[in-house]
């Protein structure tokens, strides 16, 4: 096999970019959270990188992207053996999915998809901040990855029923990633319950520059997520890239304008959140729509998500950092947008030969067919992910592994679950404060009337 250096370099670069998104997400979520839970928040993301990477080479990839020998079973799950335990035997391994023509080694695709699996699980964590046992999170991540992410990835991209039979479109993960994670978040928090003090207290972001930087890193990495999903470098790749940029920009504007009108002031948290909403919404569509429709999709996503994050107050679920309001809602907007804007002018594989079997969108003369498919695909993933996530949470709850104690929640989950606290500046070892100079170390765990780690009590 001849490796195409341009294509392979692009896919590896894209993989690195998508990996970076998870620390970026950790920072985004961490900054949005209160400071006493920022480390737990980031640790949920980091643990996903550790866990899912290893599971992916062992069994994730083969189940998601291997081809099941039974054509019927292949609708729901990939191969149990093809790539099991990585399954490839060396550098002579060829690219299998798209034929040798792309010149991309299988391992490059495996690692690219690994990064998707990591971040999808990590996305869920934003809903559960400040109150979920870390051990419970690890179990949940493991179970949901295995029972939900892997099969859904197969349904959508691995030759399963959504992509292969239904012909719903999902360029880079509107259904497989964002709706999937958003629905799981909802299922999980319905079982987990609200944070102490919610919604009475404000739970404002503790570090807004982190939020903005996190959004910036996500945006940067998302080019790999979206434009990398074409795998090769061609005209569609370039569309995916420019669409990612303009839709995100438009969504940033959309969110900020809603704030400006509704609250009187545009905020940086709003701009950052709007950008993420736009990135989410354009994800499934980026390789199938033209730039001006991308702007429209972005504007709608930004404005609608800015309103949707208020839903939790009306409906009473505590989605801490708005995973539902942004990823679930944004994912649906993007997925449905394909029913209107998908066009073979951008992606020849629509209606093409060998094609995706999908139709042009409503505004491109394809009628309502594609809209219907998008709805069915997205709805199926919504229901499946939400239900299984809730069931997993239920089992963990029954085993008393789901929620930290009230005391731990008040003390702060960082100290309670990780025995560390995020900052040690002003009342500590910094050069400016008097306590710092006096060498007063801040109390990591607050013994005050609450149970604490290894507290020594005298007299």
């Amino acid at each position: 096999m001849e490796i195409n250096t341009g294509n392979t370099a692009w896919l590896l670069l894209s993989s690195a970019l998508v990996l970076l998104m998870t620390p970026g997400l950790a920072l985004f979520y961490g900054g949005l959270n209160r400071s006493k839970g920022v480390l737990n928040m980031m640790m949920m993301s980091f643990s996903c990188i550790g866990l899912i990477s290893v599971l992916w080479v062992v069994y994730g990839f083969t189940l998601a992207f291997g081809t099941n020998d039974s054509a019927g079973l292949n609708n729901v799950i990939g191969s149990f053996s093809q790539y099991f335990g990585t399954g490839t035997s060396g550098i002579s391994e060829e690219w299998l999915f798209l034929g040798a023509g792309t010149g991309i080694p299988t391992y490059a695709f495996m690692v690219f998809q690994m990064m998707f699996a990591i971040i999808t699980v990590a996305l869920i964590s934003g809903a559960v901040s400040d109150r979920m046992k870390f051990g419970g999170w690890v179990i949940f991540a493991l179970a949901w990855f295995t029972l939900v992410y892997v099969p859904v990835a197969h349904w959508v991209w691995g030759g399963g029923w959504i992509g292969g039979k239904l012909h719903a479109l999902d360029f880079a993960g509107g259904t497989a990633v964002h709706i999937n994670a958003g629905a799981a978040a909802l299922g999980l928090i319905l079982v987990l319950g609200k944070r102490a003090g919610w919604p009475r207290e404000s739970f404002k972001p503790h570090n807004v520059p982190f939020v903005a930087l996190g959004a910036g890193l996500l945006w940067f990495g998302w080019f790999g997520f979206n434009a990398g999903s074409e795998l090769t470098v061609d005209g569609t790749t370039v569309f995916a890239f420019i669409n990612t940029q303009v839709a995100t920009a438009a969504a940033l504007l959309g969110w900020v304008v809603v704030e400006w009108i509704r609250d009187g002031k545009p905020t940086l948290v709003g701009a950052s959140s709007g950008a993420v909403a736009g990135l989410v919404a354009i994800t499934p569509a980026c390789g199938f729509v033209a730039p001006l429709p991308a702007v429209v999709i972005g504007l709608i996503a930004g404005a609608v998500c800015a309103l949707a994050v208020g839903l939790k107050y009306k409906l009473g679920y505590d989605d801490s950092l708005d995973v539902v309001g942004v990823h679930f809602v944004g994912g649906w907007i993007g997925s449905l947008s394909l029913g209107f804007f998908a066009t073979s002018q951008v992606n020849a594989a629509i209606n093409g030969d060998p094609g995706l079997g999908a139709s042009e969108g409503l505004f491109y003369g394809g009628g309502l067919a594609q809209l219907g498919r998008q709805f069915v695909g997205s709805a199926a993933v919504t229901v499946y992910s939400l239900v299984i996530a809730a069931l997993i949470a239920f089992v963990i709850k029954a085993a008393k592994g789901l929620r930290v104690s009230d005391e731990a929640e008040i003390t702060g989950i960082d100290v309670a679950e990780h025995a560390e606290s995020a900052y040690d500046t002003s009342p500590s070892t910094g050069s400016a404060g008097a306590f710092a100079m006096a060498g007063i170390t801040p109390s990591g765990s607050s013994a005050d009337g609450k149970p604490s780690v290894s507290e020594k009590v005298a007299g």
Partner: protein, 112 residues
């Protein structure tokens, strides 16, 4: 007039505020302090090594009050701040010779 000063556990501030509010106390001033006492701090582990934390975060509450109400105020604070565990803190009373409300220049009881 009197000044009632209390050094309490941070989590008890809400309760203390409510108790004073119930008494009709109109205002108070709080600050962050670090306490050292019988409650001996705790040890922390970092990379396998152990360290002792001696000072513990406390809240200082200061309430200016009428001579007549001072016992009620002290009792309210003591009761609401109590968890029964070591380190609950101290309350003390000092005499104040004069109080002025900056906004109006009113003096004495009128200033509270």
């Amino acid at each position: 007039m009197k000044l009632v000063t209390a050094v309490i556990k941070p989590y008890q501030l809400d309760a203390v505020k409510e108790a004073l509010h119930a008494l009709g106390v109109a205002g108070l001033t709080v600050s962050e302090v670090q306490g050292y006492g019988r409650q001996k701090g705790h040890t922390e582990v970092y990379r396998g090594a152990e360290y002792t934390v001696e000072f513990l975060p406390k809240i200082k509450v200061e309430v200016l009050t009428d001579e007549i109400d001072v016992e009620k105020v002290v009792d309210a604070v003591v009761t609401s701040a109590r968890t029964g565990k070591i380190g609950d803190g101290k309350v003390w009373v000092t005499s104040v010779e004069d109080v002025v409300r900056v906004r109006t220049g009113e003096r004495g009881l009128d200033a509270l």
